[in-house]
Symmetry: C2
Subunit: 328 residues, 2 copies
C-alpha cells in the first residue's frame, strides 16, 4: 500500500511536492488543500482531489502524511501546530532563530495527539544543517563555512521590487570565488559579510523612473545591501522574461579541521548543491522525510523531529538489507 500524502498550499513548493511524489512509486498524492476556491486550482495529478482547507478535518483517515507548503514568516508558526493535531506533517520552517520555539510548540501538539512532525526540512535548514553537524562531530577542532548561491534570494528581490520606479526585479546572491578558494586551501580565513558574497540585481524600470536614484536606493539599503558589494543591471522587460524567470539556488558547506595528537594534520569536508529550481529540490527533500515521518508514526515514536533525529535508512523505500548490499 502506498503512503498517502496531502499537500497543504499549492504555490511553487506545493507543485514541487506534487512532482516529487510522482518520482516515488511508494507514495501517492491524495489531496491538495487550498485557501482558494478549489475549482480555480488546477493540479497535475489526475487521481488527487483539490479540497478547500476548511474541509481538511474530513481527511484525517485518508492521509498518512501532510506536507505543509506555507511560508515561514506567518503561515508555518500557526499551521504546523494546527495540522499536527490531525496528521503527521512535514514543514520547511526556515527562520533559524525561531526554530527552538517552533519545535516546542509542535512537539507538544504531536505528543498530545500521537503524531510525528518533522520540521525545518529542505536544504538550509536541512541538508546544510546535517553537513554542519557531521563536520562538527567528525572534526571537533575545526571551523565552519557556509556560502549561498549562486541563486535567487526572494526576500532581496522583493525588497528591490518595493522601491518606487521598479517594475520588476530579481536578486542573485553570489559566493566570492576568492573566499571559497581561501577556505578550500585550508587558510581558515576570517571573512566579513562583504568578503563572502556579492549581490547582483536585474531591474526593469517603470517608464520615466530615475535609474541613478533606484541604484542608489538599492546599494545603500540597510540590512539587505549596504554591507555587500552590489551590482545593479537595468534590463528590458523582454530580457527579464527571457533570462530571469527561474529560481535557481545552491551553496556550499565546508568544514576545515585538524586531527593528530597536536592537531598537526589538516582535512577539508565540502558539500555543495547546484539547483536549477530551489522549490523543486526543497520539495524532493520534503518527500524523502515524509517517508521517514510515516515510518516513525508506524513505530509510535511520536513527537516533533528535525533532520538530526532521522536515521538515514528511514528515508529510503528499500529495506536495510538492500541498502547495505547496494549503497553502503
Amino acid at each position: 500500500m502506498s503512503i498517502r500524502v496531502g499537500i497543504i498550499g499549492y504555490g511553487n513548493l506545493g507543485k514541487g511536492v506534487e512532482c516529487a511524489i510522482k518520482q516515488n512509486p511508494d507514495m501517492e498524492l491524495v489531496a491538495v488543500f487550498t485557501r482558494r476556491a478549489p475549482e480555480s486550482v488546477k493540479i497535475l495529478t489526475q487521481t488527487a482531489e483539490v479540497v478547500n482547507i476548511a474541509d481538511i478535518e474530513k481527511w484525517t483517515d485518508k492521509i498518512d502524511v501532510a506536507v505543509i507548503c506555507g511560508g515561514s514568516a506567518t503561515d508555518l508558526p500557526t499551521q504546523t501546530p494546527e495540522y499536527s493535531k490531525l496528521f503527521n506533517c512535514i514543514d520547511s520552517f526556515d527562520t533559524h532563530a525561531r526554530i527552538p520555539e517552533h519545535f516546542a510548540n509542535v512537539d507538544k501538539v504531536c505528543k498530545d495527539n500521537d503524531k510525528v512532525t518533522i520540521i525545518s526540512i529542505g536544504w538550509d535548514p536541512g541538508l546544510f544543517s546535517l553537513n554542519r553537524l557531521m563536520g562538527n562531530v567528525i572534526l571537533p577542532d575545526g571551523k565552519d563555512y557556509t556560502f549561498w548561491g549562486k541563486g535567487v534570494s526572494q526576500g532581496h528581490s522583493d525588497a528591490v521590487r518595493r522601491i518606487a520606479g521598479v517594475k520588476n526585479a530579481k536578486q542573485y546572491t553570489i559566493p566570492v570565488d576568492a573566499a571559497l578558494e581561501a577556505v578550500r586551501n585550508g587558510e581558515n580565513p576570517e571573512l566579513t559579510t562583504r568578503q563572502k558574497h556579492t549581490r547582483e540585481c536585474f531591474v526593469v524600470l517603470e517608464e520615466g523612473a530615475d535609474a541613478a536614484q533606484v541604484e542608489k536606493e538599492i546599494v545603500t539599503m540597510p540590512n539587505y545591501f549596504a554591507d555587500y558589494d552590489t551590482t545593479v543591471n537595468f534590463i528590458s522587460e523582454d530580457e527579464f522574461n527571457a533570462n530571469h524567470q527561474g529560481i535557481p539556488h545552491g551553496g556550499f558547506v565546508m568544514r576545515s579541521g585538524k586531527t593528530g595528537w597536536n592537531g598537526e594534520t589538516n582535512h577539508m569536508i565540502e558539500y555543495s548543491l547546484k539547483l536549477d529550481s530551489n522549490p523543486e529540490f526543497t520539495a524532493s527533500v520534503l518527500i524523502a522525510y515524509a517517508r521517514a515521518a510515516y515510518r516513525l508514526a508506524e513505530k509510535k515514536d511520536y513527537g516533533c523531529k528535525t533532520i538530526f533525529d532521522i536515521a538515514p535508512a528511514l528515508l529510503a523505500a528499500q529495506d536495510g538489507a538492500e541498502l547495505r548490499a547496494h549503497l553502503l
Copy 2:
C-alpha cells in the same frame, strides 16, 4: 561520566583513534589491546593501560565501547563477531561485497549478548555511503558518481613493492579532472575505468634493478594497473622519504538528478573530502560513531548497525536543544 573507550589493535588507525579521543572531552581512552608484548607498545595517553589481547575478557565492566582497528581482509571478519560478545564495538570493515555476510554474523552475536556494534564506519564505506543514500532518496531520477583521490592506495602500493627490484613504492590514485568536470556540468557521462582515474607510482629501485622491466611489470599488472593510464616515476630513497611518507586520501561523491513533472529540471549534489591523513580522519569518524553506539546501548537498542541506522543527533556530545539552536 566519560564514555570509556578501548582500542583493539594499535597501528596507524589505532593511533588515530587515540588522537581523536583526545579531541572529545566526553570520552576517555582506558585501554589499548595488542597482540604484541604490552611493554613494547608505547602509547600517548598517560592514563590508559596497554593490555595483552589475551586478557581482554577482564575488561568487560571497564569499557563502554571498543574500537576494533584490525584489517578487513582477515582480522575484522573474526574479531568483530568475537569482541561483540564482550563489548559494544565499532569497526571499519571495508570489503563492500562481504558487508551483508559480516552484518549477519555480527547482528546475531549482538542480539545474543545485548550489545550494539556499528560496522563499516569511515568514509568509504561510511560518509560516502551516507551521501550516496541521501542523493538517491532526494533525487530518485538521477545518476551516482564516486571518484577517489588524490590519495594513497595501500593495496596498489603493496602490489608494486612485491615486484622484484623494487625497494619501496607508493601509488597515488588520481581522479581525472575532465571526468569530474563533465559530471559537474550535468553531462551524465558514461565513464570507463580508464576515464575516471589515473594511477601514479613513485618507485625506489634496488641497486642494479632494470627500470624498464619494473615499469612494464607495473603498467601491465592485471586488475591493479592494466585498465588504467599509469605513470611510473623512479626516485631516490631520499626523495621518497622526504615527499612520500604521508597517507593522504579523499574523493568525491556526486549525484546528478532531475525533478519536475517531466524531469525537466537539473540538480547536482557534490560531497568531497581532502584528507591529509586517511587513518586519522577514519579514526575521527569511528569515534563519533562510538558515541552513538554507547547511546544506543543505553536505550537497549541492541544489534548490528551501519551508518544508515544512526540518527545524526546520536553522534554529537550536545543535546537536541543545543543542536537545534546552534547547528540547524
